[in-house]
Symmetry: C2
Subunit: 341 residues, 2 copies
């Protein structure tokens, strides 16, 4: 049987209240008794009971982390990294993260994760794009919420986002600086705000450099931005446009698909075509040549989300806070400077 606060109190010859004060690091306790109590705590290897604390504090000490199952099962460890970031940050504040996935085609007949129904969480982090029907249903429970890496259509919860516009700008500007003019953009699921923003950044970079936007160079679709769809998009683009010298793919998965298409069709990278991706996932390191990309600090995103939700739990007057996490250009070998020296 694990020792209780009473055991500690008795052994240290103080009251349970004193022990409680020590545990909670109150300043109104003498250094002497504090030391004494701490010693007993260590001796007994005492750890406060979470359920007792939760019961009296009317908190659960848990944070829900929700994402769609296809995001969780994504081939590239993108959201798992974000999760790890929240897990890490949760240690400060001693929160536990409860992970739940929802179907990506969540509809009205689906139920909410049970930690919501059972009110076992103090707040919720939602990672990545989730169906609107889910968000709507969630509204009934007024739990502190924070979205990470997704901006829902209408929802005034705090947001932790990557600076996608800036990222798109960085990516396209890099290609322009390398002398490219005929730069394609390949994106899936254009209804996704992140992808739209990356495209916006791309357009802005062209404008900044006085390069005329060319619709033929922009390929978007409604499908998931994965390797296969990158392959297919490249096929379409390159069959119609022989003059493309560089491709900005909206994420690394699609970029890799593009590379496969090009290789299968006799192009060499980066001699014939330069490619830049977005995300900086591990797969990048396995491919040849190593992919130039925009690095997204996934772990930081998660940690930041946890900080925000902690704050929201404390001050329920959550501002419509938006945190924009900066991204970084990582130049590797899939892009080539084609300026005449």
């Amino acid at each position: 049987m694990a020792p209780t606060i009473k055991d500690v109190a008795e052994k240290a010859k103080v009251s349970t209240a004193t022990v409680s004060l020590v545990i909670n690091d109150s300043k109104r306790i003498s250094a002497e008794t504090k030391k004494k109590v701490l010693k007993v705590i260590k001796q007994l290897n005492y750890h406060p009971s979470k359920s007792a604390r939760d019961l009296v504090s009317q908190k659960t000490g848990n944070i829900g982390f929700i994402l769609t199952d296809d995001h969780f099962l994504r081939t590239e460890p993108f959201y798992t990294r974000i999760f790890l970031g929240t897990e890490f940050e949760a240690r400060t504040g001693n929160y536990y993260i409860l992970l739940a996935t929802i179907p990506s085609d969540y509809g009205d007949k689906n139920t909410l994760p049970r930690f919501i129904l059972q009110r076992s969480v103090d707040g919720i982090i939602i990672a990545g794009k989730v169906p609107n029907a889910f968000i709507t249903k969630l509204q009934e429970y007024d739990l502190p919420l924070v979205f990470v890496d997704y901006k829902p259509e209408m929802q005034k919860s705090p947001l932790v986002l990557i600076d996608n516009i800036q990222g798109g700008l960085l990516a396209a500007t890099h290609l322009i600086n390398y002398g490219h003019r005929n730069i394609a953009f390949i994106g899936g699921d254009i209804s996704h705000p992140s992808i739209r923003d990356r495209l916006t950044g791309y357009n802005r970079a062209l404008d900044n450099s006085g390069i005329k936007q060319n619709k033929k160079f922009v390929h978007t679709s409604s499908s998931y931005p994965n390797r296969q769809n990158g392959y297919d998009a490249a096929k379409i683009l390159f069959s119609k446009n022989k003059n493309i010298t560089a491709v900005f793919a909206c994420n690394d998965a699609m970029a890799i698909g593009v590379m496969h298409f090009l290789r299968d069709n006799g192009y060499s990278i980066p001699q014939d075509v330069s490619i830049i991706g977005f995300d900086d996932v591990e797969a990048d390191l396995l491919i040849d040549p190593p992919l130039t990309t925009i690095r997204v600090p996934k772990f930081d995103l998660g940690a930041e989300a946890l900080r925000v939700i902690k704050e929201s739990i404390k001050n329920s007057n959550t501002k419509n806070k938006i945190i924009l996490v900066p991204v970084e250009l990582i130049v590797r070998e899939s892009t080539k400077n084609i300026r005449k020296k």
Copy 2:
């Protein structure tokens, strides 16, 4: 404020004890009152407080799920699928899963996941290979344990394993049935019991068919069985042995690496060389030709692990139960029948 058992009791004009009996589905309650109480519960959207229940029952209602961080971040969603299986099964019994990762080079100076120190879990599921130092440290806390997809050297906890020997047998036998005689085995980290077992199955299949084992056809190493190492292993094997007609790779990641090597070197698959993998991960579907493999029911593994841990929590006299989950041969297009018709 969420309604409490007292609110329900008052509104239903019964005692809290009665409500409790209803919640816990006791048989010693009249159908009539039960119905009445249930109605009020629904009206109020009442859900029992977990912390109060946990406090009185001296249980936490949580299960820890531990794996190394590189397994969690694995490119193929293998362990995430297992996790999803436990999550799913956890709904029966209303458990929450607390996920924690440990460093894959866990040593004496590392700490245990805090849900163990804080005794916030009733049992622990350990997924995949974990360092011995970790297991040793874990012993101090006598928590119910179950290992899934890993058999530690000495540890008498229940085990949920894939039938790797059977899988190896199935894989090699398939190739033999297809007329192959010079069959290579490619494996990483031969200290891993699963990989050893797959090799055992391979050897057994050769024996069964009276094919002489040839050490030159077996390549193992101490490194992580990933794509790159598969590529490198194939390079070594094929530079020395021109007569190999089929490869059994110890997992799909390595198999894909092998395929890349072969393609880069002018072999066509399966015309020149047949390949079979192990795991059946999603990546298989993206490659060309689709990979013949041994399917591992990952979700089931996780679900099974949770069932076992639930059982261990109830009857602390956990037998040294070993559950062997069967695998299945999935024939796709990377293997070719070369028998003369």
